[in-house]
Symmetry: C2
Subunit: 284 residues, 2 copies
């Protein structure tokens, strides 16, 4: 654990301008949101298109150099991909082209610039007026440079981190280590993080004074929060599964996941009001 809470620097691309009381630059907050997300949205700008490319991917924060580092430390993001995918191919090109130039301070760092978003919805905030509707949500975004992991030990480390980010401890409960064909067909991207930010909205509804003072509005519109939480259902075994009882670590994971997810949704709705008027998320 670091000696004090580290924060990412505020740059033009990560500074949250709107509702900045909801913003956080703490590494611990941002990294936790990324690790909790089942899917990350990874975006990058291809050369041959006016549109960014956005891919849903699985990833995990980690430090190969210092595996004991905790969530609040300086970490890299490892992403799983397939060797022939466009993102991986571009990252490979950028890695090869720009390596060796790192000593040149005027050049951008090696790798493909990527933006990684992790978002959780905790509740639908249903106010008296449509404009005061909002979501309770926790969203994080990281900016960094993606390169292909070529070192075999680091690749194995990253694969283990990513697998365990899906189900804690799963790696050691599967057929490991990967064989040569698997190592070759799998690519791992490492994103060296430059900066990031998080934005969190909690609380129940906030409405304008004019609506709060209007008896006919108050008597006709239900105002409140519908909590939103992700649930892991009853395990459905594969046709060839021969382990009859669902293992304890999986049942424990389900229970913990469902309890935490519901708990965060309820807790978010019950947080004290911030006193700001709401609009929808995304208003950075």
């Amino acid at each position: 654990m670091p000696r004090y809470e580290l924060t990412y620097p505020k740059e033009v691309h990560n500074t949250v301008k709107r509702y900045n009381s909801r913003a956080s630059y703490a590494l611990r907050t941002i990294h936790s949101l990324v690790n909790e997300a089942q899917l990350l949205h990874v975006s990058f700008q291809p050369d041959n298109s006016p549109f960014p490319a956005t891919l849903p991917m699985i990833g995990a924060m980690g430090s190969f150099e210092r595996p004991s580092a905790d969530t609040g430390d300086v970490l890299d993001l490892y992403l799983h991909g397939y060797v022939s995918s466009r993102l991986i191919n571009i990252s490979r090109t950028k890695t090869a082209t720009e390596e060796g130039k790192e000593s040149d301070k005027d050049k951008p760092p090696a790798g493909l610039p990527v933006t990684v978003a992790a978002s959780h919805v905790d509740g639908l905030v249903l106010a008296l007026s449509p404009n005061a509707h909002s979501y309770n949500y926790r969203s994080a975004v990281l900016f960094g440079y993606a390169t292909l992991v070529t070192d075999v030990s680091e690749k194995l480390y990253a694969m283990e981190q990513i697998t365990n980010s899906v189900v804690p401890g799963r790696w050691n409960q599967t057929r490991v280590p990967p064989n040569n064909a698997e190592m070759q067909s799998t690519s791992v991207l490492k994103v060296r993080i430059v900066t990031g930010s998080a934005k969190i909205r909690t609380g129940n509804t906030h409405d304008d004074r004019c609506d709060l003072d209007d008896k006919s509005v108050l008597d006709s519109v239900w105002a409140g929060v519908l909590p939103v939480h992700t649930t892991l259902g009853e395990p459905i075994p594969a046709s060839y599964n021969r382990v009859n009882a669902v293992p304890e670590y999986l049942e424990q994971f389900r229970t913990d996941f469902n309890t935490t997810s519901l708990g965060k949704a309820i807790e978010a709705a019950e947080e004290p009001a911030e006193g700001t008027k709401d609009t929808h998320p995304g208003d950075a």
Copy 2:
């Protein structure tokens, strides 16, 4: 309903190269995924940053010109934002700068190029080997040009669509119409869609022959799917709520939402195997 199923054209930026049996270009499939998503991830490339910007936003498909159009028709995407946000400011600039140039065929269309991603996780696919792990998921991406909606009637239409995409029928159950201050403080973006694609993974685990033939692996590793579904919890009224009973349309929405979400997760896990080997999502 259109006479036949429309599909988006395959362009360099939307063609799914990996596992293309999982890909769909059908407007109906893609638009439904966007409408079902609670959050959309909207990405665009700012001029002053190497990194795309990604914002979680709320949106809905619609057609102001032909409100009776169904999900399989040619539609626009309406996004809700706040008037001072960076995305809106850039779109306003691009709208102003490029308007009137639409007759020039060599120029790009007016508006800011944006990429919109909508992703749903339906299950964690836990195979015998880490490499064969996957997710059941449904993800859609749309590419288009965002402009500010300036016409008041269209803006009202879009606000109603967006509010009703959070809870069906909610608009008419709130204090409407928005007053002048609300209309001025709210901005709506319209994305004219150029193309898009969807990618869907269903089924239980697929493992390599070497693992399926290995008794020690089969006897020690649990293989199967943990269904993942979003749940709407018990409504939590605002401190100032005076409608004591939760209205029927809200309870019905909760029930329908939860039933559909669980149903899709189970259905996805029970789909017949495709026979392809898996890797994680995002391998486009």
